[in-house]
């Protein structure tokens, strides 16, 4: 029975692993930290798997556990952006005023998103994953109205970071 459970879990996770990678992409800033968070999310998913009843999709359930791990459960400080990196980002923003090329813009955007706090990152993540406000509010435990308000604030904050 246990072997069956293990097999079913590993197979599904292997198939949907990009969700975990994407959480790591937003919450970490180097490969080592990425791998470390990936592993912790995998462990938390596995621990929670016996309670997964299949009444929601495996992938939907993964969003919740993945974000919970990144925001609340995970405990390694090295993954956080240190101040020197933030300084470099700000320096770059000042030195290179808004570049029109898309690639440059994207690079700055990713850097800006990394400067958001954990909750704001979660909103951005769910937004990027095309989740509606109902699902965002259910995942974070806030009301739909507040999710909307906060999302608008995040957009404004990103604009401010990008155009200081």
């Amino acid at each position: 029975m246990d072997k069956e459970l293990e097999h079913s879990f590993v197979e599904q996770l292997e198939q949907h692993q990009n969700i975990v990678h994407k959480v790591c992409r937003l919450y970490t800033n180097n490969q080592e930290a990425h791998n470390d968070l990936f592993q912790e999310i995998t462990i938390q998913l596995w621990k929670a798997f016996p309670k997964f009843r299949g009444d929601s999709k495996f992938s939907t359930w993964m969003y919740r556990v993945g974000l919970n791990t990144a925001i609340t459960l995970y405990r390694k400080s090295k993954r956080r952006i240190n101040t020197s990196e933030i300084e470099t980002v700000q320096f770059k923003l000042k030195a290179e005023p808004y570049d029109d090329t898309e690639e440059q813009q994207l690079k700055l955007l990713y850097q800006a998103v990394h400067q958001l706090n954990d909750i704001e990152k979660a909103l951005v993540f769910l937004y990027l994953e095309d989740k509606d406000y109902r699902e965002i509010s259910e995942t974070l435990g806030i009301s739909e109205v507040n999710a909307r308000v906060k999302m608008n604030r995040v957009k404004t904050k990103l604009k401010t970071i990008l155009n200081p």
Partner: protein, 213 residues
């Protein structure tokens, strides 16, 4: 174009850039131990329970306590001991009950609340022990003043010299300084351990709470 829309467009393409973790690698990961804060809180909490139980036993067998027990102390010590163990059992039960409700599948806010609740249980237990320590010290002091032949004779001598107030004040002051010092050291360690452990959780919880106002 909206910044996030631009990001979203690129985000969908990201899939191809991630390293592919194989079936076997995932399998190996699920055999590893978690290093989540819940595990740390669990371990530290158990250590706190052990710490206070050990303190009780160490004091019980110390020479000072043996001398103390030769005095007539049962009327105070027996109720205090019973209360101490009953409260330990109660907090232990609460702690496990709260711990079991922590689930990574809850929404972020409920998860944080459940972790904080578990932590609060242990905090209350520690607060209880500190209060218990103060009550125990006051009771101990009272018995010593009342029954310890050495102290009683010293008190008589001090009374004869007209220094009774200074004599009592000195003993009470020394005991108080010792107690305050011990409590301060303990509180400092809790502040340090939980401060580090729960810094991010508290920050994120506040951020979520702020959204509700």
């Amino acid at each position: 174009m909206d910044e996030l829309e631009l990001l979203k467009k690129d985000w969908k393409k990201e899939d191809a850039n991630f390293p592919k973790v194989s079936y076997n690698e995932i399998y190996k990961m699920i055999l590893k131990k978690s290093s989540s804060i819940v595990k740390w809180i669990f371990v530290i909490s158990l250590l706190e329970f052990v710490f206070w139980t050990l303190i009780a036993f160490t004091f019980k067998d110390s020479k000072g306590m043996k001398d103390f027990n030769e005095l007539d102390t049962n009327y105070i010590m027996i109720p205090l001991t019973i209360i101490g163990y009953a409260v330990l059992a109660y907090f232990f039960y609460l702690f496990f009950k709260n711990y079991r409700t922590i689930s990574a599948t809850d929404n972020a806010k409920v998860l944080m609340e459940n972790i904080l609740k578990t932590r609060r249980t242990v905090k209350n237990y520690v607060a209880f022990n500190l209060i218990f320590l103060v009550i125990g010290s006051v009771a101990g002091l009272y018995i010593q003043f009342d029954q310890n032949p050495q102290i009683v004779s010293m008190a008589h001598k001090a009374a004869a010299d007209g220094n009774l107030f200074v004599f009592y004040a000195r003993i009470i002051l020394i005991t108080s300084v010792f107690l305050v010092g011990a409590i301060a050291i303990l509180l400092f360690f809790y502040w340090l351990i939980y401060g580090i452990l729960l810094k991010r959780l508290n920050r994120n919880y506040k951020e979520l709470k702020k959204l509700e106002v």
